[in-house]
Amino acid sequence: MKILVCLKQVPHQDARLDVNADGSWIKEDGIKFEINSYDTFALEEALRAKDADPATEVVVASIGPDRVTQALRTALGMGADRAVHVKDPAVDGSDALGVARVLATVAKEVGPELVLMGLMSDDSNASAVPPMLAELMGVPHATAVVTFEKTGSGVRVERELEGGALEVVDLPLPCLVAVQTGLNQVRYASLKGIMAAKKKPIDVKTAESLGLAGKVGAAAAKAKIRKVYPPPKGEGAEILSGSADEVVAKLVGKIKELGLL
């Protein structure tokens, strides 16, 4: 089986978020990046399928500037077979639909039976691209998947609902599955894997080479982020000050006041 895993490289979870000069996003200089946590679970699921059947080919794809190469090398080091890197300023500033268009074009070239990706990204938290990509590819999909297994006729997934309930759904192949965090335990790349990754191919694409010139990027984006800012602080919490002992004494006082001590 051929599996395409779509990865997004995002600012590290603990990165300092400073708003950029025109307020439209955060400053990206000087911060660390990592593979979107949701996508790591998708990649792990693909690699487990490959562990179970070594004939499985795992192709990883990502969009972005030079720094994305690192994310793809990490994925290759974990065990993916090859990578596609869409690296083109003409693609920058795409909205979710633009991203989905790019990935759909990559998917057409790769021809996977299964697309695995995270439900949302740690930066935009949109959950937009997976269903859009499935629609553009003309395949069925399922989101918020916490359990995944191959069946004779396709895949069986469990979708996370509210309150811990799960919905069990069967999908035929080809399909797209967007996973929740915690689906599995993500492996680390072994030293052997990292060395082997250096020889694995990363295919670089541009908007032009994908036939998407003029159809993606900031100019084509329909939903534009005008600005980002720290949430206006409401009343918020009363922040206690003092030494640890002083603070603890105040906390105990409050808990007593609540009648809970």
């Binding site: 938290n125 811990g164 999908l171 949430p231 918020g236 919490a237």
Partner: protein
């Protein structure tokens, strides 16, 4: 100007409150409101929505729609959007809503905004990014727009209205996804929804052994239960029954102490109804401090053991 189509959701035989929140959101946007309800044997639900702000309610009623199906819902909403000549489609950002809404946006080549918690004139939609650390304002291009609205973000419409219902036939042949069953959560271990005091640990606790070493002792000293945020459970540090949040347990204890939890939306949904919230986090900008009444910006490994000792001492 085209209409606003609300996609209502039925839960346990009734239109869920989130759908009436869509009515309020639509009224804020301004425009002719129409709705669609999807399911099997849902005439009553459609009537209820028509009487409570749903406007003209299209009814997609078919046994094939008895359970959520991505293809079925996509086809039904598409048909309703066409019938309503909708410029705007509003969907609640629930596990069903976020599943099919992107397909609708792609199919309509529309602007798409997800998990909006408010809208300003423009329209400009407000949503959160970076797991709640920043707010974002999104302006859609002219033309069609699909918006998913965060459940609970806006008050549900409580008024009455004169609406109407109309059956809408949808071609439901060739549905590729097959619903198998719904598994209801079985509660194992402590039922956090019954705990009066909960001490929850997040990613900031740093390692699995710190939960029994640092968090559990405080919970025990207070006579309460231990909980956790999603990343802790995802990392395998604690089993799922400890998870507080929209996909875990929603709790309303008398006292909730959040330790090393940043306060992502999914977690806040699970505990913001608590009577009193204390947060301990080393990051002064953590969103948790917005919902907490009392906060400590500091090192939990210094504060929590001292607090545990002080509580034990106070109890004598």
């Amino acid at each position: 100007m085209g209409s606003i189509l609300l996609v209502a959701e039925i839960q346990k035989g009734a239109i869920r409150e989130a759908s009436y929140e869509l009515v309020s959101f639509a009224k804020k946007l301004g425009g002719d409101i129409q709705s669609v309800v999807i399911g099997s044997g849902i005439a009553g639900e459609a009537e209820a929505l028509a009487k409570r702000g749903g406007g003209k309610v299209y009814v997609c009623d078919d046994p094939a729609l008895a359970n959520y199906n991505v293809d079925g819902w996509t086809k039904a909403v598409r048909a309703a959007a066409a019938a309503a000549n909708a410029d705007t489609v509003l969907i609640s950002n629930t596990p069903i809503g976020w599943d099919f809404s992107g397909r609708i946006a792609a199919g309509l080549d529309a602007s798409f905004v997800s998990d909006a918690f408010d809208v300003k004139p423009g329209p400009v939609f407000l949503r959160r990014v970076f797991n709640g650390k920043l707010d974002a304002e999104v302006a859609p291009a002219a033309g069609k727009v699909v918006v998913t609205v965060q459940p609970g973000a806006i008050a549900a419409f409580e008024g009455t209205s004169a609406g109407s219902t109309e059956k809408l036939a949808v071609d439901l042949s060739g549905l590729r996804a097959k619903f198998v069953e719904t598994k209801v959560a079985t509660s194992k271990g402590v039922d956090l929804t019954k705990a009066e005091i909960i001490v929850s640990g997040g990613r900031g606790v740093g390692a699995p052994e710190k939960f029994p070493e640092v968090i559990q002792p405080l919970a025990t000293a207070l006579g309460g239960a231990m909980g956790a945020s999603r990343p802790v459970v995802d990392a395998g540090w604690l089993p799922h029954e400890y998870q507080v949040g929209s996909s875990g347990q929603v709790v309303t204890p008398k006292l909730y102490i959040a330790v090393g939890i940043s306060g992502a939306i999914q977690h806040l949904v699970g505990m913001k109804g608590s009577n009193y919230i204390i947060a301990i986090n080393k990051d002064a900008d953590a969103p948790i401090f917005e919902v907490a009444q009392l906060g400590v910006v500091g090192d939990l490994f210094e504060i929590v053991p001292k607090l545990t000792a002080a509580v034990k001492s106070a109890k004598g």
